[in-house]
């Protein structure tokens, strides 16, 4: 025991204040449990500080500038200049407002907040180290714990984030200048979002990707729209190459890549952004003190309530594995909190949506056509291309489509794939349709406002029923 150690007791100890942890803490407190939330760094976690929020703020700003600068067809002539430092300030302000809000919401709901790093010291105890070294340690005895320690960017050999020229997504989002030449390693969603953003802000961007296309988990026609738009923005792609080495040069670095056959290429850059995936954070936790062990990849395995191998210890969010998304983390947090409160909660959502904030946006929910067929459904698919949408034409944004996947003959909506401006918003309706067990006829029978992009959801449903008005039916 360290000097000055104090032991307090709590019903629920939440470790980590990201969208998994803070949401769990608030919901548990709303259920009248005594809740303690420990965060070592910043409330809101990766998402609010170094992920979802700053990335979307930069994407929005880049869009405003880019759109105005490329609207000559609309009679709009502008030559927007971006002050990257001022942009960074504004973005930081957005982040501060939200993280401040999270802190206030926690307090208003009666959550006890502790700043420090938590580690287990037994099955029902944890020790919290405050800022200083060893000083101000405290112990907490808990009935239940929720581990929500999140994830961090994976490092690639020879590309240590400690180097100034090597950026993690966090570094990229914190940048105060726009590099002239940016090499992005990895064409997953984070790589694609940030490539698009920096290209729009004026960087020359080259994307190096081991696989042979962008966004591995998406269907070909989805990828195609986003890849060609990225190419129109001047982004260059080198597929089938992995980043193998880095050389310092007088005015920047060189990124060396290698194909499977050992063929090398070299890309000069000011900065290289490595975005090859994220790994769970469990190393600070001393899991073994509680009797827990992560799986081979470092994740904590959980059941439908979020329980780990210990009935009273839950894990939510990125540390508990796929889908590593903020809204999944929050839902897991809610389910864990409600379970601890004795409610019949479960992770039984039919579908977790996911969005990529590229240009245009991608959003999907539920099953693709291939997945539905593989699961044994008699799949029927309906589509509405955006070029047939009045709203898309008035936005001068006609690349993309809305697709809806359903079962035949029941008509149950099973999934949707949307590539469109505001796809991230449009997917909400399809998500509700899936959860409600809505049929194509239900979606088609719901009056949609004209002129909107959401009409395309209705129209896709009609198309699946062979009776679309604004597209030819197959």
């Amino acid at each position: 025991m360290v000097m000055g150690d104090v032991t307090t007791g709590t019903d629920v100890l939440v470790i980590g204040g990201g969208p998994g942890g803070y949401v769990a803490a608030i919901r548990a407190a709303q259920r009248d449990l005594d809740v303690t939330l420990v965060e070592k760094d910043a409330y809101g976690g990766t998402c609010l500080n170094h992920g979802c929020i700053p990335s979307k703020a930069l994407i929005h700003a880049a869009d405003v500038a880019h759109e105005a600068g490329t609207a000559e067809a609309l009679g709009i002539h502008a030559d927007p200049a971006v002050d990257a430092a001022a942009l960074a300030d504004w973005k930081d302000g957005v982040v501060d407002q939200l993280t401040g809000g999270v802190e206030k919401l926690c307090k208003a709901n009666g959550v006890t907040l502790i700043e420090g790093t938590a580690a287990f010291s037994g099955e029902h105890t944890a020790r919290i180290a405050h800022g200083g070294d060893g000083q101000g340690m405290e112990s907490v005895e808990f009935e239940h714990a929720i581990v929500a320690t999140g994830s961090r960017p994976i490092e690639v050999p020879n590309f240590p984030y400690a180097e100034e020229a090597v950026w993690s997504s966090r570094d990229a989002l914190g940048a105060e200048t726009v590099p002239d030449h940016l090499v992005v390693v990895g064409a997953g969603y984070i790589g694609m979002e940030l490539s698009t953003t920096f290209a729009k802000l004026g960087a020359d961007v080259t994307v190096v990707e081991m696989l042979d296309d962008v966004l591995p988990t998406y269907e070909d026609d989805v990828k195609r729209v986003v890849r060609s738009r990225a190419e129109e923005l001047g982004i260059e792609f080198s597929f089938g190459e992995g980043a193998s080495d880095r050389r310092e040069t007088a005015d920047g670095i060189e990124v060396v890549t290698e194909t499977e056959d050992g063929e090398e290429s070299v890309y000069a850059a000011d900065r290289v952004l490595v975005a090859v995936g994220r790994e769970p954070v469990t190393d600070t936790l001393e899991l073994d003190a509680a009797g827990l062990e992560p799986d081979a990849d470092g994740f904590l395995e959980t059941d439908a309530q979020g329980r780990t191998d210990l009935d009273h210890v839950f894990a939510v969010g990125d540390v508990a594995g796929d889908p590593m998304l903020a809204h999944a983390a929050s839902r897991e947090g809610i389910v864990a909190a409600e379970t601890i409160a004795g409610e019949p909660a479960a992770l039984d959502a039919q579908a977790v949506p996911s969005a990529v904030f590229t240009d245009p946006e991608i959003a999907t929910v539920g099953l693709t056509e291939a997945e539905a067929t593989a699961e044994g459904f008699d799949t029927v698919v309906g589509e509405m291309p955006l070029r047939a949408s009045g709203r898309a034409l008035t936005m001068d944004e006609t690349d993309g489509f809305v697709r809806i996947v359903a079962d035949e003959p029941s008509g149950y909506v099973l999934g949707g794939q949307v590539v469109a401006p505001e796809a991230s918003e449009l997917i909400a309706e399809i998500g509700l349709a899936i959860e409600m067990g809505a049929t194509l006829a239900d979606v088609a029978g719901t009056i949609h406002t004209h002129p909107t992009l959401s009409e395309a959801v209705m129209e896709a449903a009609e198309n699946a029923m062979g009776q679309a008005i604004h597209t030819l039916n197959r």
């Binding site: 395995e301 003959p409 409600m436």
Partner: protein, 107 residues
């Protein structure tokens, strides 16, 4: 469940159920809804139509089960695809019950 728990007597039923009810000549307000708060599902409507067909046909307008209502079987057990999922969600049954209904079922 009651036909409806809602004070105004408004009938809560999805568009496809309303259409199927019209097709079968059934007044949705006369159907007993099994959903939360008495919401009428396709299965409820089918049951009402079957019941009507079994009772002596009053006006000779008995019809075959309407296309929409005849497909209401919600008990399937395919699984969601959760490749690489370690959060325990990979083996969930696709029950096709609405979120609120699933919760009530668990309680």
């Amino acid at each position: 469940a009651d036909t409806t728990d809602v004070a105004t007597g408004r009938v809560f039923a999805p568009p496809s159920v309303r259409t199927a009810a019209r097709e079968a000549g059934v007044d949705p307000a006369s159907v007993s809804g099994s959903g939360p708060g008495g919401r009428i599902t396709a299965a409820d409507l089918r049951a009402a139509i079957d019941a009507r067909a079994r009772s002596t046909d009053d006006d000779g307008r008995t019809q075959a089960a309407p296309e929409d209502a005849g497909t209401a079987d919600r008990s399937r057990s395919a699984t969601t695809s959760g490749g690489g999922d370690s959060s325990g969600t990979a083996d969930r049954d696709r029950t096709l019950a609405m979120p609120a209904t699933r919760r009530i079922a668990r309680e």
